[in-house]
């Protein structure tokens, strides 16, 4: 989106009155947004072949070419585009197919403010990702890679008609490829207003097992990645760490008596933060591997090196993805600054960032690679609590080990 200052949006709807009313609404953002309109999927593709657009907002149910087909095609041809749905379709079944290609789902009726703020947030985050190729990688992502063993086992479980969500939950929880996609679906408006998720394993329960099954089996929302990719991206370790961080961050937030929204935000931030490294590894390959070998000991230095050498930090990349997925600003904030909270815009009080940062430090142990950011934590006055959290986490780990 660096080519032009104005955000160019393509609206697609088979109801001309919708397009007309949108055109009228856009009068308020003259100069900020540049809009184009198409009455059908084919017309939309014509428009896109003539001019570059940043965002597409499409209806789902349209004659000839459905919104789902259109968005799939747009993703294939123009992976850099933000793909949003604006639909009045009320039953989830009729839109399940959209679960793969969409970034966000806006239900009709949707206020213009909502549409505007959703798009603006993404545009703002995208500015941090100047690299076109990385940009296209992040936007073009349909789903994150799942570990082959987890993916196979899930399919196997789901063949069983009476499988319980409790059987499926541990798989999801330990695999950000799956848990992340489900968090997206639940945050993006696809399943109604966003719900709190204090455990990625809970997502199956929130969606309902029958819908989950058709998402996995029929729509294939998860992507089984090959062993080589697992090695290259160091996925096993990444996903395991993400899972632990999410648990620990949730524990910290809960023991601080934070409300459900904050606990959920802390959990999501800690869980999704590591995706940034996977994204950078995918874009920069060996260059990034070397960078990590050099600075991996110290996340702060790594972040600085990323900014210096690559022009983008892994926090920024993950935050952009979180923004595309419709996660709340506090989650995005926590993901962006998790490694370097003292560089974030100052916060007055305990936030998802606090919990996620502490959670991340605690799982690496007191002498680990992930030291606490004293400059950030000092004003919050949490010193005595941190020791207790460290202990609580160790106990939790031990009981888990003895349990298994």
């Amino acid at each position: 989106m660096s080519e032009h200052d104005q955000t160019r949006i393509l609206f697609v709807d088979d109801e001309p009155k919708i397009l007309a009313s949108l055109r009228r609404m856009l009068r308020r953002v003259r100069g900020e947004w540049d809009a184009v309109y198409a009455n059908s999927g084919l017309e939309a593709l014509d428009v896109l072949s003539e001019q570059r657009c940043d965002v597409i907002v499409s209806d789902i149910r349209m004659p000839h070419m459905t919104g789902v087909e259109l968005l799939q095609e747009v993703r294939r041809r123009y992976p850099h585009m933000v793909r949003m749905v604006l639909s009045g379709q009320a039953s989830r079944e009729s839109v399940l197919g959209a679960a793969r290609p969409i970034h966000q789902y806006l239900p009709k009726p949707c206020s213009f403010e909502k549409l505007k703020s959703s798009v603006d947030r993404i545009v703002a985050l995208s500015r941090a990702v100047a690299d076109d190729e990385l940009h296209a990688i992040i936007c073009g992502l349909e789903s994150l890679p799942s570990l082959p063993e987890n993916h196979d086992r899930l399919i196997e479980y789901l063949q069983h008609p009476d499988v319980s969500r409790n059987t499926v939950a541990p798989l999801i929880r330990r695999d950000v490829g799956m848990g992340g996609k489900l968090i997206q679906l639940l945050s993006s408006g696809f399943f109604g207003p966003p719900q709190n998720i204090a455990d990625p394993g809970e997502t199956v329960q929130l969606i309902g097992l029958d819908i989950f099954r058709s998402l996995v089996i029929d729509i294939k929302i998860f992507r089984r990645c090959d062993e080589q990719t697992v090695e290259t991206l160091d996925l096993r370790r990444q996903w395991q760490k993400a899972h632990e961080m999410a648990r620990c961050a949730t524990m910290v937030a809960k023991s601080f008596d934070a409300d459900a929204t904050l606990c959920s935000a802390a959990c999501n931030a800690a869980y999704l933060h590591g995706i940034g490294r996977v994204l950078l590894a995918k874009r920069f390959g060996d260059r990034y591997v070397r960078l990590r070998e050099q600075y991996g000991e110290n996340p702060r230095e790594l972040a600085h090196a990323e900014a210096r050498e690559l022009g983008v930090t892994h926090g920024q990349a993950a935050a952009y993805l979180a923004g595309l997925w419709g996660l709340s600003p506090s989650v995005i904030q926590a993901i962006r600054w998790l490694d370097i909270p003292s560089e974030a815009p100052p916060e007055e009080q305990f936030s998802p960032l606090t919990a996620a940062h502490i959670g991340c430090a605690l799982i690496h142990g007191p002498d680990g690679h992930h030291p606490l950011d004293e400059a950030y934590l000092a004003p919050l006055g949490l010193d005595d609590r941190i020791a207790r959290w460290q202990q609580e986490w160790t106990e939790k780990q031990n009981t888990e080990v003895s349990h298994v």
């Binding site: 109801e15 009155k17 919708i18 007309a20 009313s21 949108l22 009228r24 609404m25 009068r27 308020r28 149910r61 604006l86 009045g88 379709q89 009320a90 039953s91 989830r92 079944e93 239900p107 009709k108 009726p109 949707c110 206020s111 213009f112 319980s164 969500r165 409790n166 059987t167 939950a169 541990p170 929880r173 109604g192 719900q195 455990d199 394993g201 809970e202 329960q205 929130l206 969606i207 309902g208 097992l209 029958d210 819908i211 409300d259 459900a260 888990e400 349990h403 298994v404």
Partner: protein
């Protein structure tokens, strides 16, 4: 009357006669052992008498013993207390002897007969009786039926015959319950083993034999208590040809009938039964044999299924309608917003124009034109438009938002297509249920909600649970309407509260309505039990609620109620189903 009196010998008082006297005098009471009482009562019923007594005759000693009597709540010849009853015993004796001698061809007769009451030795009043004399096991019996005589009154001899034949059958069962009847026992056991209700009745529906299952289904206690009652008495009467008529007609047509019958229990409850009725011949008499299968539970399930299907259809419809409404809602909302914005901009322009006009009016060359514009502006009443157009836009905007909210609630309420348990925000579900049924309560009740913001999600069957909430809220509104909630007496209050308690989520729905009377508390969850008028309640709401909460969610539903003050229903739903707490990993 006097001649008749002379021919009669007077019966001396005895203990039995004292009893008889009491019985007849009080009216509506009965005495005697159960077996004899049943016969007397049945005779009164069959022959339309107001009272009946039964005597047995011992030929050897020529003693007649009064065994049972029944007065049916009618003034029996106006017999006052302390009176004697006089029966021509000699006549009875000779008749009994005659019947006995003609054995085995036992004969019975239904003859006019006179019974007199003496008060202080004076003839007080006579009442006409009919008598039946028949023999059972060599012992004659006499049944005297007090009945107003009328000249044209002809007793159907067929009826008498069938009565006496069946009486013998009943006596056998009643007097010698322990007498071994092997073959019969086998069949009885067979029937009992199938859990089938069994009833034999004569062609008028008078029950001659039944088992305990039948008695249970009709709510009449034990088999003995059912005897001599009429099937019709505890069978649902409907507008169409009554079930009983159909049942009885099978004897005439000699066909087996399958039909569904609803029994009405004395407490008002219903039992649905599938009945196979056929004609059988017992002791030479045509009878109806009916085998009844209790299908109440099945009926209940069928109803629930039908309800669920209806809901599903509504859900699909709602989803479709929601889509239809959402699209225009989107552009109407945007357009109203646009008009509002645009009008403000136009107003800004008008402000500048006004100043320009003031200046132009000073300029002779423009005066005429300026005057015209001024006129047009006055005609348009700009100050009014300045005030009202934004207000109109704002209100339209609010209206469209409300439409959107209702459609969303409708969609959420109907939950099309989710059959498996999913995690649900109960607060949100209650909120959308309230929106959907707002019309039911808004005229009679204030709604007070106290939702726990920290309520965890609960695994549940969404559409069924919202149906339970709907039922309880609508019930609450009806209860308030029953005590006149609304215009006259001011609105009542419905309170809905949610909270978390020890592994459960608790939902309470309180109303200030009529309350639940003590005598029906045990039965409000019974299927088909309703106190509502036809069309307002099917008696299934609470039964379905219970089945959904208790059976499908392993939850608890209970209530407390003070008649006249209101009712509180409490639902507890378990947060998780035991095995895995809060999604913690099991040792997989």
């Amino acid at each position: 009357m006097t001649e008749e009196w002379n021919e009669m010998s007077m019966v001396k008082a005895s203990q039995s006669y004292g009893l008889l006297h009491d019985t007849l005098a009080r009216g509506g009471h009965a005495f005697g052992t159960h077996a004899y009482r049943v016969l007397a009562e049945n005779a009164a019923k069959v022959f339309g008498g107001s009272a009946a007594i039964l005597l047995t005759y011992t030929p050897k000693t020529q003693h007649m013993v009064l065994r049972a009597g029944i007065g049916r709540g009618v003034d029996v010849g106006g017999v006052p207390e302390g009176a004697w009853l006089n029966i021509d015993l000699d006549d009875l004796r000779s008749e009994c002897d005659r019947v006995r001698c003609q054995c085995p061809a036992e004969v019975c007769a239904l003859r006019p007969f006179c019974m007199l009451a003496l008060v202080d030795g004076m003839l007080s009043r006579s009442c006409m009786c009919r008598r039946i004399i028949f023999s059972y096991g060599g012992q004659p019996m006499a049944v005297l039926i007090v009945r107003d005589p009328s000249p044209e009154d002809e007793i159907d001899t067929e009826l008498v015959e069938s009565y006496t034949a069946l009486m013998r059958l009943m006596l056998e069962r009643l007097l010698d319950p322990d007498k071994p009847r092997e073959e019969e026992d086998l069949y009885r056991n067979l029937i009992e083993a199938t859990g089938t209700g069994y009833v034999v009745a004569d062609l008028r529906g008078v029950i001659l034999d039944a088992n305990d299952e039948y008695a249970r289904m009709t709510g009449l206690g034990s088999a003995e208590q059912v005897l001599a009652q009429n099937i019709a008495d505890n069978t649902m009467q409907t507008d169409k040809a009554s079930d009983v008529e159909t049942l009885l007609s099978c004897a005439k047509d000699r066909v087996v009938r399958h039909l569904k019958v609803s029994f009405v229990k004395p407490d008002g409850g219903l039992t649905f039964a599938e009945v196979n009725a056929s004609r059988v011949c017992i002791a030479g008499q045509d009878c109806i044999l009916a085998l009844c299968q209790d299908i109440t539970e099945r009926q209940q399930l069928e109803n629930q299924l039908a309800q669920a299907q209806k809901l599903e259809a509504i859900g699909q419809l709602a989803a479709g309608i929601a889509h239809e409404i959402n699209t225009p809602t989107q552009y109407v909302g945007d357009n109203v917003r646009f008009i509002d914005d645009a009008f403000r901009d136009v107003l800004n322009v008008l402000d500048g124009l006004s100043a320009l006009l003031d200046a132009a009016e000073q300029e002779p060359r423009c005066q005429e034109l300026a005057g015209q514009v001024r006129e047009a502006m006055d005609a348009a009443d700009i100050p009014f438009l300045t005030e009202e157009v934004p207000a109109a836009a704002r209100q339209s905007q609010e209206g469209i938002e409300r439409v959107g909210r209702i459609v969303r609630a409708m969609k959420e309420f109907s939950h099309p297509g989710s059959e498996a348990m999913s995690a649900i925000d109960i607060n949100k579900m209650l909120q959308s249920t309230l929106t959907v049924c707002r019309n039911e309560w808004k005229y009679c009740a204030e709604m007070q909600t106290d939702f726990d913001d920290h309520l965890p999600v609960v695994p549940c069957l969404a559409s069924e649970l919202s149906q339970v909430f709907l039922n309880l809220i609508v019930n609450a509104a009806h209860a308030i309407e029953d005590v006149g909630g609304g215009e006259e007496q001011g609105k009542g209050t419905i309170g809905i509260r949610t909270c978390r308690c020890e592994g459960h989520v608790m939902i309470t729905i309180t109303d200030t309505g009529s309350g639940i009377p003590d005598d029906i508390r045990d039965r409000i969850f019974d299927p088909f039990f309703t106190t509502k008028d036809v069309g307002r309640g099917t008696g299934q709401g609470l039964a379905i609620a219970r089945s959904i909460i208790v059976e499908k969610h392993s939850g608890v539903i209970d209530f407390t109620s003070t008649p006249g003050q209101g009712t509180t229903f409490t639902i507890k739903l378990p947060l998780c189903h035991a095995d895995v707490e809060g999604g913690r990993e099991s040792a997989a």
